[in-house]
Symmetry: C2
Subunit: 213 residues, 2 copies
């Protein structure tokens, strides 16, 4: 059932993408992806970069036994699709309805300042992530996650989560149950409010910052 749904969604997204190709003043048209649709896959040849116009994307890789490591979430305004290798090591999927603009790579030369900046941002992100996942406990990981989300989409102390608990767990190296229990604990301690499962209101950001060191 799920695969069928996914296949349909993928097809729809494809037509949708084509339908949305219209001429604008900007260099590249916007492609649109429905929720859960793949933008590129592990094993494909690395190609274009993508800039998000609206929506949100997850970047992940799979282990052979099905375990998944989400390495990044990306939101409107951010660029993704930069990979160190010639073939893609990761999957990129839209988490919600998402529009992306393709950015052509500078044809021949590889070391443009833009690409370098992307590599550096990726490096910093990965090293930060490594610290969180490697040396912190559940509460600290979730706190770091909330603070990161706040930084990147601040709607006055309110964050919207386009991803599922499973995504968060696979991003932070823990199970959905632990994610859920940690959310509950923050709620019980009055640090957050959960108006709905996908919206988090940060009541005491200083407590989160304290937890992260």
């Amino acid at each position: 059932m799920q695969t069928a749904t996914l296949a349909v969604a993928r097809n729809l997204a494809h037509t949708h993408a084509i339908a949305l190709v219209h001429s604008v003043s900007r260099p590249q048209p916007v492609s649109s992806f429905l929720p859960e649709c793949e933008i590129y896959a592990q094993g494909e040849r690395s190609g274009a970069l993508y800039q998000i116009e609206f929506g949100a994307v997850r970047i992940y890789r799979l282990l052979s036994d099905g375990r998944r490591q989400v390495v990044a979430f990306h939101f409107a305004g951010e660029t993704f699709g930069f990979e160190a290798d010639r073939t893609r090591s990761f999957f990129a999927e839209a988490m919600v309805h998402t529009g992306v603009r393709t950015i052509d790579r500078p044809a021949n030369g590889q070391a443009t300042p833009e690409l370098m900046a992307l590599a550096l941002r990726g490096l910093i992100r990965a090293q930060e992530h490594l610290l969180v996942v490697g040396r912190q406990r559940a509460m600290e990981r979730i706190a770091a996650f909330f603070l990161d989300m706040m930084d990147r989409q601040d709607d006055r102390g309110q964050i919207e989560l386009p991803m599922t608990r499973l995504d968060i767990g696979d991003y932070l190296g823990m199970t959905i149950e632990t994610v859920s229990r940690t959310f509950a604990r923050f709620r019980e301690e009055g640090i957050i409010r959960l108006p709905s499962t996908r919206i988090v209101e940060i009541l005491k950001p200083e407590r989160l910052r304290f937890l992260c060191q």
Copy 2:
């Protein structure tokens, strides 16, 4: 007591470094560092790159409560000291008697192919490390560690560990006790032999590879 010892070692290394500055045909002289000596520190202004002539180096960062995340080990022939930021986010320390050659950064332009290559290698390393630390259990982490060491210093199935169990633990996100117990378990299962604490003989590499997926 320990600080005193360290201070002496640091001073010795310093004089040693100066003593070893001799003219060779290569562009830069070799500086020498005694075991446990700092090569650069978190907070310093990012500067030169270093190429290891002999020895081994650990790269790490500290949390305010003393927890430590080792992000990389480097061996002879490898280059380290590349950082994404203008100030160093990490410490670099010699783990054994180590000789490094300073590499001057290309003066003005930032995006040389060499620097790009370093950034990419760092990115791949960090992403690989993230997967190990984020989604694997103790046995798998140690297995991945052994395989990585094998790849990088293959003396026919024998690896020499210049780092302590604490270093390994802080690299893999576990305690020294768990590291030690995992080593013991591999030994009991006939996968490795431990001629000494710092030498590991890999008897069944295929078992390690199986564990890593």
